[in-house]
Amino acid sequence: MKKSDILWQADYRYNFDRDLWVNPKAKKAFSVEFVDDNVEGEIVRRIEQRTNGNGWTFYFNTDPSDGVKRVLEQVLG
């Protein structure tokens, strides 16, 4: 299955403004670069990964700065 199909089926939607795959309910976001650079199995593993549920989890190749995280958390809701 294509990575975009895997994300779509897991309720991730593409955010054109930020070039992110976002699931507000799971509070997770994948950068398009992370999706491109990782194999399907890794994407599935990260989708299924448990988080503490308090804040957003960002799957980026390079960790976003605290400032960018703060902005994204508020923009994404």
Binding site: V32, E33, V68
Partner: protein, 222 residues
């Protein structure tokens, strides 16, 4: 103690940049017009001597506001201005807020146009556009027009016409839809199109070279 910044900081960055854009806009328009006028004037002798099948088109443009913001943001993951970035952001960091594109057909006119403009823009910085898998390049320069502004850089480029027209559609599609730009398939499609266009342009140039002398220099002048 410095208070924690909030979402307003980020929105403020974007809004401040938009404000900066609209403050610069009158100068950007003047810069585009100045460049277009000068380039039209300097290429006029070439235009007058074009053969019937040859073309030379001069187009100026001012970068749109949102496009300028996106360019300033660059290909950064998450496409978000960092409120903590030291030094902040300014649109004046961009070299191509106003520019001119000269489209020529066939390719042998490209060098001629480039040469015609070099003296006037001798102090501008070259940054050629690479295409065809890096095997070919088109001239591009950026610099200041001091008559208009000592802060805003302008840009001009001289490109093969077929490729230039293709890029108008391709760049917008690929840059505004990152998954397409990153897709290996789409990159392959782009290379196939570029190679075909290059082949047509080179073919025309070869045909002209091989048959020069069999046709009048400029029949429309007869």
């Amino acid at each position: 103690m410095t208070p924690k910044r909030t979402i307003e900081d980020h929105l403020k960055i974007e809004d401040l940049l938009r404000e900066e854009y609209f403050e610069l806009l009158p100068a950007l328009r003047r810069l585009a017009m100045q460049l277009e006028t000068e380039i039209r004037s300097l290429t006029l002798p070439i235009l007058h001597n074009l053969r019937p099948y040859e073309q030379l088109v001069v187009k100026s443009r001012v970068k749109e506001c949102e496009s300028a913001l996106n360019t300033l943001l660059g290909p950064k993951e998450g496409r978000t201005f960092d409120p903590d970035r030291p030094g902040g952001y300014s649109l004046l960091q961009l070299p191509d807020l106003a520019g001119v594109r000269v489209l020529v057909f066939p390719n042998n006119r490209l060098i001629q146009v480039d040469d015609a403009l070099r003296d006037r823009f001798a102090d501008w910085t070259p940054k050629p556009i690479k295409y065809g898998g890096g095997s070919a390049q088109a001239p591009k320069y950026f610099g200041y027009c001091n008559e208009i502004s000592r802060n805003i850089r302008g840009e001009y480029q001289v490109v093969p016409m077929l490729l230039g027209l293709f890029w108008e559609v391709e760049h917008a599609a690929m840059y505004k839809f990152r998954p397409a730009a990153n897709s290996k398939d789409m990159r392959n499609h782009r290379t196939v199109v570029e190679d075909s266009l290059i082949s047509f342009e080179n073919g025309m140039e070869c045909f002209v070279r091989d048959n020069i002398g069999k046709y009048p220099e400029n029949p429309s002048k007869n």
